[in-house]
């Protein structure tokens, strides 16, 4: 199994600022994902973080708002830019081994973000 850590675990930010969330996996994985989970709701996929190329964003999410980096096979960052209170949410990093494989998808502990 993969162990995923995220930093920070929580933060309170001011409107208009940006926050970068880091995700570290303890082993090399092919697939890394970023999800948003609003209070009491299910998970929504923001994007797939691609190593060495631009992330693949889901409908409703754009690179200018949620820039993502993935410099290697174990690390990714998600930036929430120009934040507003509507961005208050839990952001989860997730990872899996091989593209299209049946391997289990693991999740990090999440970053709880509150925007004032």
């Amino acid at each position: 199994s993969a162990v995923i850590s995220q930093k920070p675990s929580r933060d309170i930010c001011q409107r208009g600022t940006s926050l970068t969330i880091q995700c570290q996996v303890d082993s090399q994985v092919t697939m890394m994902f970023w999800y948003r989970q609003q209070p009491g709701q299910s998970l929504t996929l923001i994007a797939t973080a691609n190593q060495g190329s631009e992330a693949t964003y889901e409908s409703g999410f754009v690179i200018d708002k949620f820039p993502i980096s993935r410099p290697n096979l174990t690390f990714s960052t998600l930036t929430v830019s120009n934040m507003s209170p509507e961005d208050s949410s839990i952001y989860l990093c997730s990872a899996r081994g091989r593209p299209g494989s049946q391997e289990t998808q693991y999740f990090g502990p999440g970053t709880r973000l509150l925007v004032l």
Partner: protein, 114 residues
């Protein structure tokens, strides 16, 4: 497009009893995977159980088992001998064979009473 439906927003069970959480899904694919994830209040998502659609035998992991009905597109989770630590949000999820995206249901909050 594939969808996952969990029709029970909340369920409760008494300690040591059995509870079943429902999940239905809609897909035109024949090869896919189904998952149940648990998210305790500490919010770390952990995999409870996985089922491959090509397998007729229902998956079992200790006190957790599924009732997979492929024709009915149903994938329920049974928790036997419920424990206080089972209290959590439970998410049903689907992934097509060869796809990267995991599709989640809306979740069922399970309360366990002593």
């Amino acid at each position: 497009a594939q969808t996952v439906t969990q029709s029970q927003p909340e369920m409760s069970v008494q300690e040591a009893e059995t509870v079943t959480l429902s999940c239905t899904y809609d897909t035109s694919e024949s090869d896919y995977y189904l998952f149940w994830y648990k998210q305790p209040p500490s919010r770390q998502m952990i995999l409870v159980i996985r089922q491959e659609a090509y397998k007729q035998q229902n998956a079992t992991e200790n006190r957790f088992s599924v009732n997979f009905q492929k024709a009915a597109k149903s994938f329920s989770l049974k928790i036997s001998d419920s424990q206080l630590g089972d209290a959590a949000m439970y998410f049903c999820a689907y992934r097509s064979e060869g796809a990267d995206k995991l599709i989640f249901g809306t979740g069922t909050r399970l309360q366990v009473f002593p």
